[in-house]
């Protein structure tokens, strides 16, 4: 597969992943273009790898984390979301998803990355570990912490009006 074939076939998917990782449409496109430019330089080697796409996704995740590291520390305010069992209408469903998305966006970068790779990309923990260059145990730890945080922020006991700093 040539670089161009790969890039044309996978750019859409990489941008969707980048949007979920960084939460910003324009930065997502910048990240993907930057990563593809670097992948182009090494394409001879990447194309020979057992899973070139896995490697490129790893580059993307690392680029996103590097951006977060470079960024000056900043708090993100996130509305606390209550569980709403029994919600049936579509508008409420959308509200619920938007609220949950806000909480996901507020997770620390590595936790959010694990959540996105696991529940959006549908990757197993071993593959996520390969992308993050860590052990599967670390992946599970990030996932557990993220899920705990999401549950806590969605539970009625945690419900309160206003916002809370999560970073």
């Amino acid at each position: 597969m040539t670089f161009e074939e790969y890039a044309f076939a996978r750019t859409q998917a990489l941008i969707r992943l980048a949007r979920l990782l960084c939460g910003d449409e324009h930065r997502a496109e910048d990240l993907v273009q930057d990563v593809l430019a670097k992948a182009y330089v090494r394409w001879g080697r990447i194309a020979r790898m057992d899973q070139p796409d896995l490697y490129v996704r790893r580059m993307l995740v690392n680029a996103n984390h590097a951006w977060w590291k470079r960024r000056s520390s900043r708090d993100i305010s996130v509305a606390v979301v209550a569980d709403r069992p029994g919600v049936v209408d579509a508008a409420a469903e959308v509200d619920e998803r938007d609220a949950l998305w806000s909480v996901v966006r507020a997770l620390p970068p590595r936790q959010r990355t694990v959540i996105v790779l696991r529940y959006y990309e549908d990757l197993d923990d071993a593959t996520i570990a390969a992308i993050l260059d860590c052990s599967t145990g670390t992946v599970r730890t990030h996932a557990k912490r993220a899920l705990d945080a999401l549950r806590e922020r969605r539970s009625p006991s945690a419900t309160s009006l206003g916002a809370r700093s999560v970073l």
Binding site: M1, T2, F3, E4, E5, A7, F8, A9, T11, Q12, I15, R16, R19, L20, E25, A28, E29, V32, Q33, D34, L36, A37, K38, A39, Y40, V41, G44, A47, R48, M49, D50, Q51, P52, V94, E96, R97, L100, W101, V104, I115, V116, Y119, Y120, E121, D122, L123, L147, L150, R151, R154
Partner: protein
């Protein structure tokens, strides 16, 4: 609760993945930046090598130097497909072009000296070769002009082609148009489309500046011989009604051997198709384990759309989606069960 949250997470993330974007400008920008990065790296490497040469020259005065590279560099001929004796070239049988995955009915021997990698493709109405290295070009053949229109462009451009001009390639009629380089610069894309013989269309896409040079390159494409499109594996077990439709092989000069990657597309009359791809991987890379079995092989799922297995020195994948459609995982396993490697991946005559 956990299942509910996980389900909601999947739905939430999917709902926020955003709308579709046109990949062309992003890929074009990546190519421009990538080329700039590569030029910079080469410059650094040249300076480094020059410095090292100076040091070595000095050291050679008193140090005996023996040995050398443990592997001879591959000749340019390693980028060529094997001859297809008895198969006519496109000039005499244009009606055969694109009809078989087993052969390309043209050759580009005189352009290979500029290439480090080539990708040959045959079947499904089109034959092509893409060259990469000091040259960035693609030559395509088809029996009708519309087939060429449908092929996705792989070389970067601004996407704003200028008005075509009439040209002649080796005396045959055609036209050419220029598509400027995408910002912030670089080489624009020339496309030359001509009719080497009646009933045959050829197209050259190439990065370059001068129309004369581009016409000169187009005139080097030969249509008087055919070559076998081969990959270093066979598929001996296909689902009922399925036959080979396409072949693609990527050969390069800077790897462990010339073979870098090969794909076969199989499909049926109902429009189902899938792609089997073998990619050479470094020694020690790969995974013999897998939760599925296909004949003698252990197979792993890569998401829900790709099956993969390691058959050294290659990683073998079956694409059920994107580069396939309609076949089930069971069909993919049937295909993989009949995967048979060529006797010698480094000897193209055995493929």
């Amino acid at each position: 609760m956990s299942f509910d949250l996980e389900k909601r997470l999947a739905m939430t993330l999917t709902a926020h993945e955003g709308s579709a974007v046109d990949p062309a400008p992003i890929v074009a920008g990546a190519l421009t930046r990538g080329r700039r990065l590569r030029r910079k790296q080469r410059m650094v490497r040249v300076v480094g090598v020059a410095a090292a040469c100076l040091m070595l020259a000095g050291a050679a005065i008193w140090l005996p130097i023996s040995g050398g590279s443990d592997r001879a560099p591959l000749p340019v001929s390693a980028l060529l497909l094997p001859a297809a004796p008895g198969e006519p070239g496109a000039a005499s049988r244009p009606d055969l072009v694109g009809t078989t995955p087993g052969a390309v009915h043209f050759t580009v021997d005189r352009l290979l000296a500029e290439a480090d990698y080539v990708t040959w493709t045959a079947g499904r109405g089109i034959e092509s070769v893409e060259l990469r290295g000091r040259i960035a070009a693609r030559v395509m053949l088809a029996r009708d002009r519309a087939a060429l229109d449908e092929v996705q462009q792989t070389l970067a451009s601004s996407g704003s082609p200028q008005q075509p001009v009439e040209v002649r390639v080796n005396g045959r009629p055609g036209d050419a148009w220029y598509d400027p380089a995408p910002p912030p610069g670089g080489q624009g894309l020339w496309v030359v489309r001509w009719r080497p013989v009646d009933g045959l269309w050829a197209q050259l896409d190439i990065h370059g500046e001068s129309l004369e040079a581009v016409i000169g390159t187009a005139s080097l494409v030969r249509f008087d011989e055919a070559r076998r499109c081969v990959v270093p594996f066979r598929l001996e077990s296909l689902p009922a009604g399925t036959r080979l439709q396409g072949c693609s092989v990527n050969l390069g000069l800077d790897g462990q051997g010339a073979f870098a990657e090969g794909s076969l597309v199989v499909g049926d009359e109902a429009g189902r198709w899938l792609t089997v791809r073998a990619q050479r991987v470094p020694v020690g890379v790969g995974n013999a384990a897998g939760e599925l079995r296909a004949g003698p092989y252990r197979v792993r799922r890569q998401g829900s759309e790709v099956l993969e297995m390691t058959v050294a020195p290659n990683e073998v994948e079956v694409f059920l989606k994107v580069w396939g459609d309609g076949y089930t995982e069971r069909d993919g396993l049937t295909v993989l069960s009949g995967y048979t490697p060529a006797p010698d991946v480094d000897d193209i005559s055995t493929w």
